[in-house]
Amino acid sequence: MEKMIDLDEEDWLRQAKTILKKKFGYRQFRTGQQKIIQDVLNGRDVFAMMPTGSGKSLCYQIPGYMLNGTVLIVSPLLSLMEDQIKALRSAGEMHARALNGMMHARERVRVLRHLRDLRFLYISPEMLCRSDIREALAKIKISLFVVDEAHCVSQWGHEFRPDYLHLARIREQLGHPACLAVTATADERVREDIIRSLGLHKAAQTIMSVDRANIALVVREVSSDDEKMERLCTLLRSTRLPGIVYCASRDWTEKLAQLVHCKLGIRAAFYHGGMEALDRRKIQNQFLDNQLDLLCCTNAFGMGINKPDIRLVVHFHFPATMNAYLQEIGRVSRDGQQGLAVLYYSPQDNQYPEGFINSNFPEESFLRHIYYELDNGVLTIKNKDQFLNDLQERGSSETAARFIYERVREKPVHQSFQSIFKRSRSIIEQRRSVLLRDLLVMKNYLAATECRRTYYLNIYHESPGKKPVYCCDRCGISLADFDQANFDDTVIHREQLMNWKERLPYIFKEGDRSMQ
């Protein structure tokens, strides 16, 4: 294997650590990072599974400073790109840009014109499929081809993206640079799929534990919603913040934010997908900037958010899969300090995940009716958006509408829609049973009488390591240990000025803030 740079072990490690310290302000590599970086620098294809929040971006950013050329990062998430570029800018890196479909054409031209100067280029898979972009990229030296969220390449994964299937071919066209494929969660089947589909050659693999030892786990069964709210208030009255409360519905986020704000005087707000984009951004920024202590939200919040000092995640309703649960609690204490995850559940909560699973698929009679209308020309699929809209107006959920669209798109040309009904139904059954199995695993976690950590590590075929001091409610911990009083956080309380004559001078740094 050709080495990409010619350094002996000592040298590269010293150099990498200097960059780590100087650029990113860390003194030590975290578990896994050092080996991955070493493999990358040795020019090997690398597969890495690292749980969210374990610092996967450093694994290609540090090599970016040691290799000649541009690091190309394929990522499907716009918010993630944006967040990464912001983080790099804060570290003083001005040669990082993105190319995605949401950009203004003029902006795109600017990026393409300066490709050669870039150290890091984030790109969405659909951009990479465009021939003009590929031609421009073929003219520069790509030092490393990073595939983020690599599980999207696998049809076994729940987030399969057809665009990802072209990545292996595109990598060839770009002169076959070494490839680093990273993902947060992938079982063995998905892992094999990734390595095969991306054409990784003798890949060096680093599989990191899904365990986050610095997060204590608590599950509390209650009998009613009222009791839940009471318990939540008691918890929030003393526990260290900032925190997030995940709810299953938009109504609940609003209700809880109101409750907490009125009853405890905590600076709380709600966040969900039904809000205007501008409002969502404001609330998100307020939370990141410590103008809020608590966010009550649906799972619409969190993707691509980088706030290392969140101390508490509460689940007011439990999610439908263990994967989702680990991802959501994984947002706690990314800075490595002690954090806490509390989950409340009552018997009636089962309706939420089951409802969520059902909303993914159309009902049988509804589907039959839609196929009937398609056969009779009442509905057409000429315009995708129009079709999705028509279905929703007939009472379908958005995800179910997309599901139907996928089915009718696959229909052979000379057959009737009615003829694919049976097959559609069996796909629904298949998918539903996978989701129900995942849900059962989640429910078993709630009911587990053994150590919670041991339980979920078992699911991922990991054996538990050394038990942390604050492990879980089954191993015995006291919530008092997470009391605000035990930590000397200095909370900045900036009043949110409603007086324009004070607000405006502050924003523009004009004169003395107290000036009238």
């Binding site: 800018r89 707000a269 103008q291 949110q496 924003i507």
Partner: protein, 349 residues
Amino acid sequence: MFSEALLLFLIRQFHGERTVSGIYHLLKGKQSSQSIQDSYLFGVKPFFHLCDDLERQSFQKLIERLHDCGWIQCVNSKQTTFIITEAGKNKLNKSGIEHTIPDGVKITNYVTTEGQFWLKLQLLIQTLSALRYHETAFLPITKQPPVTEAIRRIVLNRSLTRNELAHQLYQELCRLLTHIPRAEADLFAAQFSGYQMIGLTMKQIADESGKDLYECRMLFKSALRRLMADVSNNKSRYPLVASLISPAVSSLSNTAAVTLRLLRSGLSALETANHRNLSLSTIEDHLVEIALKEPTFDLSEYLAEELEQHIVERAHRLNTRRLKTIKNDLRENASYLQIRLALAKNTLR
């Protein structure tokens, strides 16, 4: 409560001739010819685009509350159309809402561009604040490409340094806000984001100030429209803010403006529909909008003057603006399009 009075007022104006969706689209400012036409027809122009952040669900809840209180009653079986009851009228009169509507909202010349202007203003403030505090990275309040491009151009293409630019914006804003009633100005500025001071959402402002959410929205739009008018009338006093206002093409929606251009070039309505790959009924919607907003465009091809008079007369005698009622009366003598055009041309002036 303000929100209740506002909705009662609108329901009274619409007089059971539109479903509640019509009211929702009016407040939301839906860019359809129907909503725009309604805002003229029922004398509720200031309320168009007044609550562009309104959620369907909360609007529906409010309607249900009015119904439960007995202030409105249903006039169709589908529960979609309402009229105001006697109790509702009492409630409305006591609220005195007509006197509390701030003058600013009645300035409707800029309504098609106010959304974009507001985003640009917020992003420019946020950007200059970040520069002022030497913050190299911040999460912009919006990522809409036309908005970010416009701000980028302004920040880059100036002869002024960035500090000078920030100072100038500060001064222009101070002057502008001084001309606006204090309560409106405070509410307006509370939404600005800057360095370590993220703007409040409308909901947070309502909570903070103890005011009704709909009232806050109205005070905000009043401030915004006053400010846009002030800037447009005195461009030389506010050069920086003025550069954020897109030159007003016409108050037509963009799509109707395209149709008008084609019609002017000599295409018929049907040819325009084919050319644009739109349905004829969409082009007819545009015609109605054109009738409302471009009084100089000759529509006699679609509606003879004689017929127009006849329709207006019948509508007047029947005392309604409901298309179906008028159509039933006129039968084959007039098409729906002709009735809509006649009403559009004759209700405003």
